[in-house]
Symmetry: D2
Subunit: 210 residues, 4 copies
């Protein structure tokens, strides 16, 4: 299937890393990371949390800006027309499940924020923070690949950033949609890498910017 | 595969049509609709154009607001980091391929506009036009399903609209990604319908609002 | 001075109220409403709070959507380049002064939210909430007239809403800038009214929509 | 009057120039620059055009990104609720008055674009272009100070940029509102400078970046 797209000039050349990274951590909240919740505890998400935790350690040591978000609303009246019942009923400000995952959130360092749409950039201050910091390269981590990661990757691209998705730092409830979405964005908007490659880039960047 | 998601409460209930429709027509420009261009002339896109033309006839008779966009840039310097060579080289203001498809564009009626990202709502005046018109239901048409339709559907949802994708009014270069993306958005953000169902809704709406 | 602008066709005709109101309450937080803070306790702001409280009572009885915001940040690193020292040093998440004013905030009814720029619409979910509710008329209240009210009024206009500023529901540290800004926006973007006129409109609207 | 605001900690310290400039040229279109139009030919605007032309010469030699906009709409249906009759009736795509002023627009260099609200950043690709270029300092030029310049300055600030307004590069129909608005934004969001100071900064920047 890739061939049809490549014949039409999709996936022609890498974007590459730029001069200043920023990291977004999308919806690593306990509703997704704790198996006791309806959306929680998928193996690919667990894998994503662990790799993202390693990546964020390196990033914090290097002073890289990090935005770390959850999703919640005042009530059903204010939320968009979600077709996911667990989101409609449980993603309410202060409800259990809306806490940020402790393995990936550092309250003293990260810009923590509440978002209202699938994308971490949609109607949030993240892009303004990154503009102030002169970020040109956005590393996308979090969940779920076929939902909020897809949306955040599109928006990162649209906003002019070099966009990198380390595929072992993002997760989904199932492998099919995880792969389908990495395929779609990798053809158009983003480079698909892994945690180790991004950590190496961050450590090199740190040495150059000391 | 659907079952894993439905067990987790995805796809729980329809959104339904609201009180006032608006239509977006995404990237039905000759670069996609004319086979002489690298991205042009896929059968699903041809099918989409024909069904969208029927839908727009009904919509214009009913006075429904229509936004009809193409994608182009001043130069490569100003565009986001596209991995699609044909976009990078050919989507330049005024270049061949950037004209709106005549079967779906009515210059005297539609709000024609140039967009810069995959989504027709991203940094364009479409949502403001729809707010002024009190639109609450957005019908998404155009191409390609696994690119700009996916992005436009996410943004329509995020901006609070009831979002309907008539699947025979959107098209792609190949069937796999077309279906994968309808599946992903149909679980979360939008109702997947067909042209005839939407035309019927518009004609009913027109009778009620005469 | 008005004459030069009116000769050039500014201020030509009223906008008028529309079919569905929504209200924004901008920065009635204790940093502005309590005299113990550097920015707190100006008489025009005190007057604004009292009139807004009356207006909101009527609005909540009528079921009108209300968005009620404060401004704060994770740290100085994430905030824009404010030239106001009290904002830079004190508008930090959870700090004293960032609580919403109890006379104008009803936690059980209002959509409370944190904003990051002067405008309540800038990178916040307010416009999406209003789109879902089919709001076409935005009533702007809060402080300060020559800062966040000016910015919120511009954005309300830009987003396609009929915009009404009840001048006794907005306040400033001094009268000159208060009046200058009402003059500028009243010529271009908004109708300048008072609390009683808006309350009457809301009560009429309520009767029609019972 | 300044004293009341400074006692409350407004205007505390300069923002300063950053590492990479970008320039916005707002609404220098013939409707404002040619005296034959109702909004055209005010002396402060004429002065602004001449100083901006000098500034842009230096900027183009240095490779600084420039966004140059006009305002127009498909029809009155799509435009926001303007209270300025000349805008409502004459700011239509392709109408006389909507051409960019030739003294300040270089089609071969500048990103020319159509905007729909007062701010050049509102629902336009300008911020994405600047993010790609790593701009951190925005120079605001154009007209009118008490309208689109005020709006563009607020948005530049909100989006995280260091914002500089060279006061002799912006103009208005009358001096009072021109000064009032520079006062308001200079206290909060931007440094007020002049063309010569900005040209000197750009020439220094050019030498450092050769």
């Amino acid at each position: 299937m890739a061939d049809i797209y490549e014949q039409r000039t999709y996936n022609s050349g890498e974007i590459g890393f730029g001069d200043k990274p920023g990291i977004v951590v999308v919806d690593y909240m306990t509703a997704f990371t704790d198996p006791k919740y309806p959306l929680g505890g998928a193996p690919l998400i667990e894998r994503g949390v662990e790799n993202t935790a390693r990546l964020l350690d390196a990033a914090r040591r290097a002073g890289v800006p990090i935005a770390n978000c959850w999703t919640s609303y005042h009530s059903q009246r204010e939320m968009p027309h979600w077709k996911v019942q667990a989101v409609r009923e449980q993603f309410i400000h202060g409800a259990p499940g809306t806490e940020l995952e402790p393995r990936t959130y550092d309250e003293s360092y990260d810009m923590g924020l509440c978002k209202s749409g699938p994308s971490i950039f949609f109607e949030t201050p993240v892009a303004s923070f990154f503009a102030k910091e002169r970020v040109d390269t956005v590393i996308v981590t979090g969940c779920v690949t076929s939902g909020c990661i897809r949306a955040s990757t599109i928006d990162s691209f649209s906003r002019g950033f070099r966009t990198i998705v380390p595929e072992d730092c993002v997760g989904d409830h199932d492998e099919g949609p995880h792969r389908d979405n990495l395929r779609d964005v990798g053809r158009r908007y983003a480079d698909i890498k892994d945690a180790d490659t991004v950590i190496e880039y961050i450590e090199d960047w740190r040495k150059k910017n000391r």
